[in-house]
């Protein structure tokens, strides 16, 4: 096997495919059989089959990635394809969307899937008192009309070209209408695998359904055992000793040891997850764009990728849109680490030097305190004295983030540009963690949302990314890779999704035993 430098590989943006190809034996045709044993971090004793509450890998993989289906899904190559919907079309203003549903699909309890299930499943997220994380997706739907047993028409408050993309969100699983509570209690979906046993935060066993609409395309394992292993070393050991076939979140420190094991393959993708240092752009002195530029020139991005992520990541041009997004601005160059430029921008702001507090805690992102100290060291020669304040992990998101003028934070990223921007960069939304308010940006945000022409949207989203990068209030030094590992007994198609860890959380559906 030729040696390819990890970083060079990532820069090409083709990391996923190439890594998978180099690490795998020659591609064979997929075949049925075997029990897949997974060791997954991100499980809790409070887990349930209620997709509205899902936020961590374990339940996302079990529900969205095996037991339940959504209307649409993001394929491994990033294309949006139908899952329970066969096709969809929009009106010219992107306000009315008609979904044609797959026929002949049944839930695990035998009930046939149809339009009623879609309507009731989506309404769960806006029910009185419901606190679903997908509420912002479903709320703009003003009307859901059943046009036939297998056709649903949805009308939105305002046009949204990304609407079918949003329908692939892991919270929007389809439940059987009239039996939602039972389905949540037992885990009854339309997915390739049905629940055999479920012990929250400990262990889940799944069994392949006898016949399924994905037959011949996906679902090669006969059964699946998912063990919850939150401890990093225990997870690595289990894979090294052959007690599990795949795991998520490889510990960076032990990654070289795992790489040395011939029975283990590491698969790594750069997606949208990014680590940030948001500044409140309405608080002095950070309201001055020159100060912000000075701070952006004071960070050594490559050093952060090397030391904080141990190379498992890529530098970012202060861009919250990542390589897994459709309209990612690949050519946007990250600001160079340049103390002289930092000094220059300080001068522009009428200052010789600047002393500023940076609040950090490892709750912000793993290694955030170390990253803040690196930042402190690199910014010093540019005349910026960063005073690192180590905050407690407890209550970090309530007491520090959105409250302190400058802190550490992470975003797992969003599947669409509009979703990311309207979550964290739209004026007035609660999680706008830089209090970013730019007239041109706001204007583009609204126009791009309803634009169905892909080229025009690309232009607008590129301009928005440039705006955030040059004038925005968030220092985004790096994208953090998701690094997972599998036994060489497993095989896959050669393309690994980069939206979410573990092949977009769909390793159970897509992989097979070689």
């Amino acid at each position: 096997m030729t040696r390819i430098s990890r970083r060079g590989l990532l820069k090409t943006g083709a990391a996923a495919g190439v890594l998978a190809a180099t690490g795998m034996p020659a591609m064979a045709m997929p075949k049925r059989g075997g029990t897949l044993r997974l060791g997954i971090a991100g499980a809790n004793s409070s887990d349930s089959w209620d997709s509205r509450t899902h936020s961590d890998t374990y339940m996302i993989m079990a529900a969205h990635g095996a037991v339940f289906d959504t209307l649409t899904q993001v394929a491994a190559d990033g294309q949006l394809i139908g899952e329970l919907a066969e096709s969809w079309e929009a009106s010219a203003d992107a306000k009315t969307w008609t979904f044609n549903l797959r026929k002949g699909v049944t839930f695990h309890n035998g009930k046939a899937f149809g339009a009623d299930d879609v309507i009731e499943s989506l309404q769960m997220h806006v029910a009185e008192g419901a606190k679903s994380a997908a509420k912002p997706i479903v709320e703009p739907i003003t009307e859901m009309k059943k046009m036939g047993d297998h056709q649903v028409q949805m009308t939105l408050k305002a046009g949204n070209a990304d609407f079918p993309f949003l329908m692939s969100d892991y919270h929007l699983c389809m439940y059987p209408a009239g039996q939602v509570e039972e389905a949540i209690a037992k885990g009854i979906g339309t997915g390739l695998y049905k629940v055999e046993s479920f012990d929250p935060g400990v262990r889940t066993t799944l069994k392949r359904v006898d016949s399924h609409y994905k037959d011949g395309k996906e679902g090669w394992f006969d059964a699946v055992e998912m063990v919850a292993i939150n401890d990093g070393a225990a997870r690595m050991n289990a894979l090294m000793t052959g007690q599990i076939d795949a795991l998520n979140r490889v510990d960076y420190k032990t990654e070289p040891l795992m790489r040395a094991n011939p029975m283990v393959n590491i698969f790594e993708v750069t997606g949208n997850q990014h680590y940030t240092f948001p500044m409140l752009t309405n608080v002095s002195p950070l309201d001055n764009v020159n100060i912000r530029k000075a701070l952006k020139h004071g960070v050594n991005r490559q050093e952060m990728v090397d030391k904080i992520l141990q190379g498992h990541g890529a530098v970012s041009a202060d861009n919250p849109i990542g390589p897994a997004n459709q309209y990612f601005h690949k050519d946007l160059a990250p600001l160079a680490y340049d103390p002289d430029k930092a000094k220059y921008y300080l001068k522009q702001a009428g200052m010789d030097s600047l002393t500023i507090d940076l609040s950090a805690s490892d709750a912000g992102f793993p290694g955030a305190v170390d990253a803040a100290q690196l930042y402190q060291a690199s910014a010093k020669s540019g005349g910026v004295n960063i005073n690192v304040i180590q905050e407690p992990n407890d209550g970090y998101w309530s007491n520090v983030w959105l409250k302190k003028p400058w802190c550490a934070c992470y975003w797992s990223g969003r599947a669409t540009e509009d979703w990311m921007f309207s979550t964290a960069y739209e004026m007035g939304v609660p999680w706008n963690d830089s209090h970013w308010d730019n007239a041109r940006f706001q204007e583009l945000l609204v126009v791009a949302r309803a634009e169905l022409d892909a080229d025009k949207r690309r232009g607008m989203y590129h301009e928005m990314q440039e705006l955030i990068s040059t004038e925005g209030g968030t220092v985004i030094p790096m994208y953090a890779n998701s690094v997972d590992a599998n036994s060489t007994k497993l095989a896959n198609s050669g393309t690994i999704g980069n939206v979410f860890q573990m092949d977009n959380g769909r390793i159970i559906e897509r992989w097979w035993f070689a």
Binding site: T53, I229, M240, D394
Partner: protein, 332 residues
């Protein structure tokens, strides 16, 4: 016998009082921790409205005294309530609250069973080894054997548990795949498989608790060896082994039983690190999870179990010491 029964009754009453005090201390301590359940569960997604909604649903806005009295009222009637996490899910669904939820008791029970199983297996291995080593060390005191046993047990107790665990994994699971490093036991597993999977954590814990029990056995016996009645036995010409087993050991039982009880209590309450390393679904992991999200009902239930384990094991140790000592059995 009547005196023993009286002691049991007295101690149980005192135990209940202790449990009551423990519940107050735990409740206060968890409340003193920064953050509460709403903040912990929402994490980055915490908006003031969402926090307020959860606090209202769970009654976290009531004054602490009211909340404590509500919990106590239920607990006295044997109802430990629902965990916050479960109750929060019910309100997520916007449907029922209360019925159909997994109660704290039903969440804790299977975990506690697993913990007891691990403690049991460990005790089966550790207690005989520790007592035998202790007796032999006393018999051959200051010999090479005595010193080797001391050095080995003391170094295993001085190393952190997770280190011993990784050393055992390295030698018994990675380099020589004899035992599985993953102890994910579950309901319906047959006994022999369950035992195999439990062996590595049990061995780790054995290494951790043996030293204490062995040293106490050795010290208690050596202490007695200076007594006149032992000298008498020796003068009679009895073999050293028989002197120790027949004459010294029965009189040394009280301190030995006490230290065994203390270590058994530790096996029930203090094994969270070992549970995490081996992914063993015991009560410790549930406890730590619950403290992390400030899930007070579960924390309370776990603490009560821990406190009860200490109280009952100590009571048992005291009673066994009394029974083993004729002077205490027949007080003048």
């Amino acid at each position: 016998m009547a005196s023993i029964l009286r002691i049991i009754a007295q101690r149980l009453a005192l135990g209940l009082l202790t449990l009551f005090v423990v519940s107050i201390v735990i409740f206060t301590a968890v409340n003193l921790l920064p953050g509460d359940f709403a903040q912990a569960i929402l994490g980055q997604g915490a908006t003031p409205e969402a926090i307020e909604a959860i606090r209202n649903d769970l009654g976290l806005n009531d004054p602490p005294l009211t909340r404590y009295m509500q919990w106590l009222g239920g607990a006295i009637q044997g109802d430990l309530g629902n965990s916050f996490a479960q109750a929060n899910f019910a309100s997520f669904a916007g449907t029922d609250t209360g019925s159909g939820l997994a109660s704290v008791a039903s969440q804790v029970a299977p975990r506690f069973e697993n913990t007891m199983f691990l403690a049991g297996v460990t005790a089966m291995i550790a207690v005989p080894i520790a007592v035998t080593l202790g007796v032999l060390a006393a018999l051959y005191r200051n010999s090479i054997f005595d010193r080797a046993a001391n050095v080995m047990t003391l170094s295993s107790i001085s190393s952190p548990e997770f280190f011993m665990a990784y050393v055992l994994i390295l030698f018994l699971a990675v380099l020589n795949p004899i035992l599985p490093s993953l102890s994910n036991i579950y309901e319906g597993m047959d006994f022999s498989e369950r035992l195999t999977k439990t062996l590595l954590p049990a061995l780790t814990l054995t290494l951790v608790v043996t030293a204490h029990m062995m040293r106490m056995t050795r010290a208690a016996i050596i202490n007695l060896l200076a007594s006149p009645y032992i000298e008498m036995a020796r003068l009679k010409g009895i073999s050293p082994m028989r002197v120790i087993v027949k004459h010294a050991l029965p009189n040394a039982l009280a301190p030995i039983i006490n230290v065994i009880a203390l270590n058994l209590a530790y096996l029930i309450t203090g094994v969270v690190v070992v549970e995490v390393v081996f992914v063993y679904p015991g009560i410790g992991q549930l406890f730590v999870d619950s403290v992390k999200i400030r899930d007070i009902p579960v924390v309370q239930a776990c603490c009560l179990i821990f406190a009860a384990a200490y109280i009952l094991l100590n009571l048992m140790a005291d009673i066994l010491s009394i029974i083993s000592n004729p002077r205490l059995r027949h007080p003048k």
